[in-house]
């Protein structure tokens, strides 16, 4: 009986992996694009979730890290011909540095809850205004990344399947990191900080250091996402990278899916992605109507499922068991 269930779950995993690998080869480019965007926002949401969900430090300005990553790799590529793969690591490190700056300032002065959220928002707006006014960043025009055709070493390809596998691997990586955090000491410490900082301090948790650690990890990973975006669309400007809208896109999926859970952001992205596409497809003719419906669905999810879709599924499962 026991062996059979292991065999079953192995079979299930094998099947799932096979589907995920083979799927893009049978889909038209539009559907691959939808999948890429689902994975992309699942990746960003999962990165945000480490700081905002687990450690409970709600960042309203994650676009700052995203933009830093996007501009770092793009500028390095456009100006010095450095491969965006290397630029991505550079962007990640700069994202960490920004995390160090924001974190050491905010956490040192004890900014919590809405105050921390506003401070992160201020940082992302600051960076947006800087990139809007610097010649280096192309001001409001943004930067067009030169086409290289099929050049995987320059992080470019004409086929969307290439990007699908890149973002798939990135997402699996961030999922694995989150799982490790969730199971072990870091998960306990981050959650303890989220639930009650005083209690956490009283039992030996260096709350300052662990909040800083969370923002460093999250900042690094989010910046990598920025590079992916730049290479996928081959165009960046201040508003789409550093803008408030982007920050909202980043934390929306984990909120809808379930904050502080491993799979919440993936679930959120899997629901919101197709939802956005369907409402736009059905109601695209009426300017803005699809956004209103999208917004209405969002509001209802937040009101009726306060623990996100994942939390709701878990409570259903628990009810079923009892």
């Amino acid at each position: 009986m026991f062996k059979k269930s292991i065999a079953n779950s192995l079979f299930l995993w094998f099947g799932l992996i096979l589907i995920v690998i083979l799927l893009p080869f049978f889909l038209p480019p539009y559907f691959i694009h939808v999948l890429v965007m689902i994975l992309f926002y699942a990746y960003l949401g999962t990165s945000w979730n480490i700081l905002g969900g687990y450690a409970g430090q709600f960042s309203f300005g994650h676009a700052a890290f995203f933009g830093i990553g996007a501009y770092a790799s793009t500028l390095a590529f456009v100006n010095w011909g450095i491969s965006p793969w290397l630029g991505m690591i550079l962007g990640g490190l700069l994202g960490m540095l920004l995390g160090l700056l924001i974190g050491s300032l905010c956490f040192h002065y004890g900014l919590r809850g809405p105050y921390f959220a506003l401070a992160t928002l201020a940082f992302s707006e600051l960076l947006r205004l800087i990139s809007l006014n610097l010649d280096l960043t192309g001001k409001a025009m943004g930067i067009l990344i030169p086409l290289k055709g099929n050049a995987p070493f320059s992080f470019q390809h004409e086929s969307k399947i290439f990007y699908y596998f890149v973002i798939l691997l990135m997402f699996i990586g961030v999922l694995w990191i989150t799982r490790c955090i969730d199971k072990g000491k870091f998960g306990d410490y981050f959650t303890a900080i989220r639930e009650d900082e005083d209690s956490a301090e009283a039992i030996g948790v260096d709350t300052f250091a662990y909040k800083l650690l969370a923002i460093l990890i999250s900042g690094f990973l989010t910046a990598l996402g920025g590079t992916f975006y730049a290479q996928y669309f081959l165009y960046i400007d201040p508003a789409i990278t550093f803008g408030v809208g982007n920050s909202i896109e980043i934390f929306l999926r984990p909120i809808v899916g379930g904050m502080g859970t491993v799979y919440g952001p993936l679930i959120g992205a899997s629901v919101l992605g197709p939802l956005g596409e369907v409402t736009r497809g059905l109601l695209g003719g009426y300017q803005g109507v699809h956004l209103m419906i999208y917004g209405a669905i969002l509001v209802s999810v937040i009101i009726f499922l306060p623990n996100g879709i994942y939390g709701w599924l878990r409570s259903l499962k628990k009810k079923h068991r009892d």
Binding site: K183, G184, K185, D188, Y189, T191, A192, R194, E195, D196, D198, S199, A200, E201, A202, I203, G204, V205, D206, T207, F208, G260
Partner: protein, 241 residues
């Protein structure tokens, strides 16, 4: 000999002096009761010792070393644990992981931390609740969890802030036994409690605070008969049976 020494400690909030030139010493292995009317500075004293507040004047020594200026987690690592008057469990973590978080203070491996947490949960009688989320616990269970969690850090000194408050007499009796067992395990305790009967049976020595100052100190019987204590804490006409 390790001891905790409070020396001339003062703390004011604006015009209110919560703790005023307090000096006492806690010897290893004893249970020291800390009593006083509401607002007499007991919890402020705990917050000063555990590093949540910085004293205006005075010093706190653990052995030879001063604790003033250290952050709460550093003081915890030096071996001083505390509970909070209002139990503060990590609501969304399971009971087991609540305790495990504290055990990670010194244990590195997950399996080791799980084993230690198991022992602690069995000790306080919460093992059957290990997988429940802490938010589902009753008051009594929360207080026990708080106790298990502070023990998880391996303290040498433990500050208990009203762990009996709000419990039924039967529950209180169980808690008293638990506290006595903790002392037998070699942990020195400072206990804040309001119920006189409990503090009398539990403590080896009692310090009485009133308006931030120590007005009496000594063995329970002597303190209970001290006219100052009777007047300010127990009321003018109180007779100790």
């Amino acid at each position: 000999m390790r001891f905790l020494k409070i020396e001339n400690l003062s703390k004011s909030f604006g015009g209110l002096t919560a703790v005023n030139h307090v000096t006492f010493q806690v010897e290893q292995g004893e249970i020291m009761g800390l009593i006083g009317p509401n607002g007499s500075g007991k919890t402020t004293l705990f917050n000063l010792i555990s590093g949540f507040l910085a004293p205006d004047k005075g010093n706190i020594y653990l052995g030879e070393k001063s604790l003033v200026g250290l952050r709460p987690h550093q003081i915890c690592k030096r071996g001083i644990g505390r509970t909070f008057q209002i139990a503060k469990p990590f609501s969304h973590l399971s009971v087991m992981r609540n305790v495990r978080t504290a055990v990670f203070n010194w244990e590195r491996t997950i399996s080791g931390a799980n084993r230690e947490s198991e022992g602690l949960l069995k000790f306080v009688g919460l093992w059957s609740k290990r997988n429940e989320s802490a938010s589902s616990l009753t008051l009594m269970e929360r207080k026990r969890l708080e106790l298990a969690r502070s023990l998880g850090t391996h303290p040498k000194f433990l500050l208990l802030d009203e762990v009996m408050a709000g419990l039924t007499p039967v529950e209180q009796q169980k808690m008293i036994e638990l506290v006595k067992k903790i002392r037998e395990g070699g942990i020195t305790l400072i206990v804040i409690e309001h119920t006189m009967q409990i503090i009398m049976t539990l403590s080896d020595r009692i310090v009485v605070l009133c308006f931030g100052e120590i007005i009496a100190e000594g063995p329970p019987q002597a303190v209970a008969q001290d006219p100052n204590v009777i007047k300010s804490y127990l009321g003018e006409k109180y007779r100790f049976a």
